[in-house]
Symmetry: D2
Subunit: 223 residues, 4 copies
């Protein structure tokens, strides 16, 4: 959805930056490990459907990509986990909003509402985890790291939204925690132009590999 001339300008920057990074030893490949998990970030209605402050773009690409990943991932018996962001209390001494509400309209994300339920087109199967988080990262203030380590997972395949927020922070935390972050190019998005491109660029330079859906499916099929 970014205008071609602006995308072209970004590509000029990315090319210049990539040359510097490559000369200095950045942009290495982390690669897939042996035991992956699929982690779908915030693909709930408030992000996937129209009409919310959090509504994102490109769902006609993202949703089918997630469906494809789930299909093979479930066949292979790997963990498939979802996150959503939701708050029980928006005011007073028991609010669980933390400070984030001072930056973003998180008051729209009521725990238990339709808004924060996973989009039914990619609904979790009974027995798959839906981790309710309060912060951007899927790891922050959740049991995700312990869950993954207990299942002997070494690689997290990330999808969802947003690239400028929750997906990026999750990728950064994943490598810090000791998991290989793989971001599936066709399965991630955002709500404003440009931020998908530059956040994928930053992640691929430093935190995890940005990989095509095709490559990811081939990897999963080969497990």
């Amino acid at each position: 959805m970014i205008k071609p001339e602006l995308k072209a300008a970004l590509d000029v920057i990315f090319a210049a930056d990539s040359e510097i990074y490559a000369n200095r030893g950045f942009m290495r490949r982390i690669g897939f490990g042996k035991r992956p998990a699929l982690i779908h970030i915030d693909l709930a209605n408030a992000w996937t459907q129209q009409g919310y402050p959090f509504t994102c773009n490109d769902m006609d690409t993202i949703i089918p990509a997630v469906q494809d990943l789930n299909k093979v991932g479930r066949t292979k018996g790997i963990p498939v986990a979802y996150t959503t962001t939701a708050f029980a209390v928006t005011e007073g001494p028991n609010s669980d909003m933390g400070l984030w509400n001072l930056k973003i309209p998180s008051e729209a994300l009521k725990l238990g509402s339709e808004a924060v339920a996973i989009d039914e087109r990619i609904a979790p199967l009974p027995g798959e985890q839906v981790i309710v988080k309060k912060r951007a990262s899927a790891f922050h203030g959740t049991y995700l790291a312990g869950f993954l380590r207990a299942h002997d997972v070494d690689t997290v395949i990330l999808t969802g939204v947003t690239m400028a927020g929750c997906v990026r922070h999750t990728a950064e935390d994943a490598i810090a925690e000791g998991f290989r972050p793989i971001v599936v190019r066709e399965a991630v998005g955002d709500r404003v132009p440009g931020v998908v491109e530059w956040n994928l660029f930053d992640i691929d330079a430093k935190f995890g590999d940005v990989v095509s859906l095709e490559t990811t499916l081939a990897y999963l099929n080969g497990l």
Copy 2:
């Protein structure tokens, strides 16, 4: 519930240990801070009612103590938060049991069941947090630390069960995270003899203050 002669033997040990600790500069008082929160650990039916693997003792003392604390705490507008321990999936690649089930019967703690609901005698008011945790500590894999810091809390007043498990681990984590742990003597318990005594002893020596209900209520009333 511990037999008098065994309690007497423990008291002999505690006295000897206390002398060594005091001589060496342990057993200092951490004291109450300025902005407390009440944190009630695992006072759900599986722990407070008869007939569960997790059933604890002394609820005729613990429940009224918690009621007293809540009454004044709510008047003062401090955060009042509960925890429960519950699991959505007990088998397969999406189990959220982690490794703990290899030690304890956590398979009995089904998410959404009556067992893991807070005891209705001390039911949370609408708008009070019930934090679902997967591990012993109320801080581990939860948003508790960020929640407390965002509310400017510096002191956590702890009640609940069990002393040998979740309350102790929570107290240890609390001081590590930068919160003053206060354990209310009459408001904590366990399911086997002796463990309340020795865990309170260890905590009071090193991690937080063990304080009477009366003193805690006086502090809260004075806010």
Copy 3:
């Protein structure tokens, strides 16, 4: 250091994005709190001096800005903490590199070397913390959160490098942990064109306030 025509293209994107964000309730101001700390991210020689893979730009602006902040911060008695990133062991079963070395040239950051020592132009005073971290975020795998809470800090004023890496991840973690992130515009940088601009944009939209040096100094002076 970004070419004017590319900066202009970025500004077009930022303007379009800002309109969407503002219409949806993002880009709110978090503001300064009451008890700040200064956190200087990775202003060690490997980043501030020429000739390293990690060398960054704009030190003629960043270093004086940090000097100015330190001068008033120290007068006011607030915590002043530095981070550096350094590794003791680069190979074998005891390597502390984690997985990050699979993306970036962290093998150049030897613990105890001149490279990872804080730039002497902004050297810590005796008694100021230099936190050695292994990951991007100053919070990840460090005692920073507990340190700040124990000092009753509610606001972290961030400087240093890099915007696309450690400063951004630190800002994201800060708000998640319950601290107000303030990023000082003149005091942060990076090594490739564009990334300062877009990461400041993302942070200001969602995670913390990007504030001028002048405003920050005025706030500190008013404490």
Copy 4:
């Protein structure tokens, strides 16, 4: 060092408790995993040598046990990591003592001093990690979890001191993080009577397996 009649009293309690625990499904065996690490907790001079507030007992048993474990562990190429607890600054706005100093004499643990150096009888080899922690748990505010995951470790074999403090908290955190805690009976200790016994009892009931040195060595030799 506990008097026989008090040990006998504890054993009576342990027997009664064990019966209740066993009837309820506690005290399960977690077992060894496939990829262990040796983690030696706070075996620095302040704990292993005479004359410090932190001095512990039973070093004539603990030190040889650790030597035996290291010998085989190093042969097998598993991670061998040490912790120590040390503080750079004891007063003012930059103190890294946190709140713990309000309970224990941590002012005696100066960073860089002989007190906090690992006992030379079990000195780390060049290239083995010595993790400086500020809190009781080896996981809290350190890079240990990420370090272990990046090395694909699933089991932590714990030694050191103290059972009522750092070893216990580390075991609790280990299982929460997704690592199997194994505590080596002959390789752990404390400074006051009784606390080794009751903390081993609690851990074995709920958090990890307490195993003999002989069994642990046999496991390591079989890798």
